[in-house]
């Protein structure tokens, strides 16, 4: 042999070259193996309780994923649970935009965590694809089952079986800066009662012309935010955004056009950077006292620093006296490939206990998921929280299997509509009907 080392070295280098030739633009590669999702309810459902606490607490490590926008409340609950139980929950925070992708990729690979807490609007899709374990019996065994907020449970119900529970309630409300109101000559104790008044208040604050301070905020690239904050106005007046099955959109009605017209007129009262705001920092302006009035998630009122003197108002409709809200937030379920279903149920049931809902959630200005705890000692102490809890009764959770692809997708049809309405042809855009039809096409699905 002439030089065996040279040949094997060349082979080794060739090997490394082949392996190392991974694309320089390494994308999060989705697995290509066919997913092996078991049909719903195939794995053993967690044992309903016999002891004081449902489920099993035996020191298992439970993995969980939750969304970034509801992370503060989730982390508080997890910390309190871990401190008082042998089980330890290991919660990973996932950026909102990545949630669909991450869950999809993990589902295809069979590597989902034990618990997933995700946006309630994604639950119809996930539940119908067999991602979660059937917990109908477990829910029924809870003593307070009838007082749980029904929206998230309905969203997670497929074929009569329930796969999810409400975890973190989020309602959309309006917040306003009382100091800016006073400066603009508006009464800080009289928030707007119609969308037109909201616009007038924003105009008044914008006219103050304070540097870096704006009347309102509209995140131009955050289409989920617009769903969360524009739709309640349509609902307040009795309108609808989709048909009951969630397969056709009705976002080009006259009511909708009136709402769009008002928001279009508000673009001049917003910061120039709002046009490309994708949602990561859409409340930062208000939290630094630089925005007069804007929509806001009710679950993170505690994130507004004490330096901002703020008030809360329910989102109003076009006519006076009408209010509504988007009942969103996270629903939570135990995944179908989890090996610790009993322990996971222990955690889930605990989060709905009196202690967790009052001492952790309500104490930190969160919204309890049980209606029997809506009036607790903490909520009574802060009238702003009372407003939020009261409007929950008038809100809706829209359900559609292809919700994400139609409304949250950055390249999706709802985004095309909102940007046309805000920055393009406006509320009277000739393309509105075509845009609505495009949304219907995605909702109807393939």
């Amino acid at each position: 042999m002439r030089n065996p080392f040279r040949t094997s070295a060349l082979a080794a280098i060739a090997l490394v070259a082949v392996v190392g030739c991974a694309s320089t633009t390494a994308t999060p590669a989705p697995p290509t193996a066919p997913p092996a999702t078991p049909p719903p309810g195939q794995t053993a459902t967690p044992a309903p309780s016999t002891a004081a606490e449902p489920g099993v607490d035996d020191g298992t490590r439970i993995t969980a994923w939750t969304r970034a926008s509801t992370q503060s409340q989730a982390q508080m609950l997890v910390a309190a649970y871990n401190a008082t139980h042998k089980n330890q929950v290991d919660m990973q925070i996932v950026p909102n935009d990545n949630m669909q992708t991450k869950v999809g990729a993990a589902a295809a690979a069979g590597s989902l965590p034990d618990i997933i807490s995700g946006d309630v609007v994604f639950m119809p899709n996930w539940a119908s694809q067999g991602l979660f374990t059937d917990i109908t019996a477990n829910i029924a065994a809870l003593p307070y089952a009838s007082t749980l907020v029904q929206g998230p449970i309905k969203a997670s119900t497929v074929g009569g079986k329930q796969y999810g529970l409400p975890f973190i309630m989020d309602l959309s409300v309006w917040v306003y800066n009382k100091d800016l109101f006073t400066k603009a000559g508006l009464d800080p104790n009289k928030p707007p009662t119609t969308l037109a008044e909201y616009a007038a208040d924003a105009d008044a604050i914008q006219k103050l012309n304070i540097k870096d301070t704006y009347g309102t905020e509209i995140p131009g690239q955050c289409f989920g935010c617009e769903v969360f904050t524009w739709w309640p106005t349509i609902w307040a007046d009795g309108g609808q955004v989709m048909n009951a099955e969630g397969t056709a959109a009705t976002l080009n009605t006259d009511e909708a056009k009136k709402v769009y017209a008002i928001y279009q007129s508000l673009v001049k009262d917003t910061a120039p950077g709002d046009k490309s705001e994708a949602g990561a920092t859409w409340v930062a302006g208000f939290q630094s006292g630089k925005v007069g009035i804007q929509p806001y998630p009710g679950s993170i009122l505690n994130a507004i620093p004490a330096s901002v003197n703020y008030g809360v108002a329910p989102i109003a409709g076009l006519t006076a006296g009408t209010q509504s809200t988007f009942i969103g937030g996270d629903a939570i379920g135990i995944t179908s490939n989890s090996k610790h279903a009993d322990q996971a149920w222990n955690f889930l049931a605990w989060t709905m206990s009196d202690y967790a809902q009052t001492e952790i959630v309500a104490k930190n200005l969160g919204i309890p998921v049980r209606s029997d705890l809506a009036n607790n000692k903490y909520s009574a102490a802060d009238p702003r929280v009372v407003i939020v809890n009261q409007v929950a009764a008038k809100g809706q959770t829209p359900l559609a299997k292809n919700f994400g692809a139609a409304f949250n997708d950055p390249a999706g049809p709802w985004g095309v509509l909102t940007r046309d309405v805000l920055y393009g042809g406006g509320a009277t855009s000739s393309k509105l009907d075509a845009e609505n039809a495009a949304i219907t096409k995605v909702l109807a699905g393939s």
């Binding site: 390494a26 295809a108 067999g130 994708a278």
Partner: protein, 314 residues
């Protein structure tokens, strides 16, 4: 030992019995064994996925639901009908041309600068190469922060220095989004291409330049008639890497603009991602991947053929 690896065709007369044939066979076997790891790697990591993607592109395959049977050619016609497809192709080509011109031009300039020597040679070389230490996604996140309206430091600094009076909107408009994203790429990759071209430059012997200047050639002539032709191989390599990499652009656009504003910065790979994870349709995503593979094969074939002239030079 003097035994030839490359076997002359064994003539029947040379095959003298069992001993010789066994030795030849064992040599062949050794050869196969040496090549085996690479063959296995190529088969498992290259050919098998290719076959799988081709199969996926011909099937109705959803993200959460799995393979639901063949449906050729529905996926391919779905791509054709999509309103995002042709704009994505046009934009990707536009971006590829822009990025390639800037990267190779700047890379060559930097390489010439360093080649011409000077005290700062080592420092400059390190400075230009340093961005390569950062992953592309990390670099994109860094620039996302820099360009941000809420937390970016550039606008406040410029306004304090009185260079601008109103904030620069980096990613608001389609054209500025393209330029500022390309700026990120140039910052990140210029050093890399500078390195490739520098190696090529250093291989050019000095006496060629000396004899040229004796013959009366000026700087521009020696650049045009000596440097460029002798750099052909390095330029070919840079061109192929750059064009392929730019056609596959994803990270920077996904992180900085998410395809916006108004879907004006959607690249082909972003569209694949969109089909896979937003529309949850792996079949169409795979079909688009196959289309992209075809485009890249054609492009690279053209480049190989036209740049092959370098062979006769050596």
């Amino acid at each position: 030992m003097g035994v030839e690896w490359s076997s002359a065709p064994a003539s029947r007369s040379a095959r003298q019995g069992g001993w010789w044939t066994t030795r030849r066979r064992s040599r062949q076997l050794m050869g196969l064994l040496y090549v085996a790891p690479t063959v296995i790697f190529v088969a498992v990591f290259f050919i098998a996925p290719l076959v799988l993607v081709a199969n996926m592109s011909a099937s109705h395959w959803t993200l959460l639901g799995g393979n639901k049977g063949l449906n050729l050619p529905d996926n391919y016609s779905a791509i054709q009908e999509s309103s995002l497809f042709w704009p994505a192709v046009v934009f990707t080509i536009e971006y590829t041309v822009l990025a390639t011109v800037m990267l190779i031009g700047l890379g060559l300039g930097l390489a010439l600068l360093i080649q011409s020597g000077g005290v700062w040679k080592g420092f400059l070389r390190t400075a230009f190469l340093l961005p390569s230490a950062m992953g592309l996604a990390s670099a994109s996140l860094l620039f996302y922060g820099l360009y941000s309206n809420q937390i970016g430091p550039i606008n406040p600094i410029l306004e304090t220095m009185r260079v601008t009076t109103s904030p620069i909107q980096f990613l608001e408009e389609p054209l500025s989004a393209l330029w500022w994203t390309t700026f990120l790429i140039v910052w990140r990759f210029a050093g890399f291409y500078m390195l490739i071209l520098l190696v090529g430059l250093q291989a050019i012997p000095r006496d060629v330049y000396e004899s040229a200047s004796i013959d009366g050639a000026n700087r521009w002539d020696s650049f045009r008639f000596i440097t460029i032709p002798l750099l052909r191989r390095s330029l070919a390599l840079s061109l192929i890497l750059c064009i392929t990499g730019s056609m596959l652009a994803f990270d920077q656009f996904y992180i900085l603009t998410q395809g916006g504003p108004d879907n004006s910065t959607v690249t082909i790979v972003e569209l694949i991602y969109h089909y896979a994870f937003q529309s949850q349709n792996l079949g169409t995503a795979a079909a688009l991947s196959v289309v992209l593979l075809g485009i890249l094969l054609i492009l690279n074939a053209i480049q190989f053929l036209s740049l092959r002239g370098a062979e006769e030079f050596r």
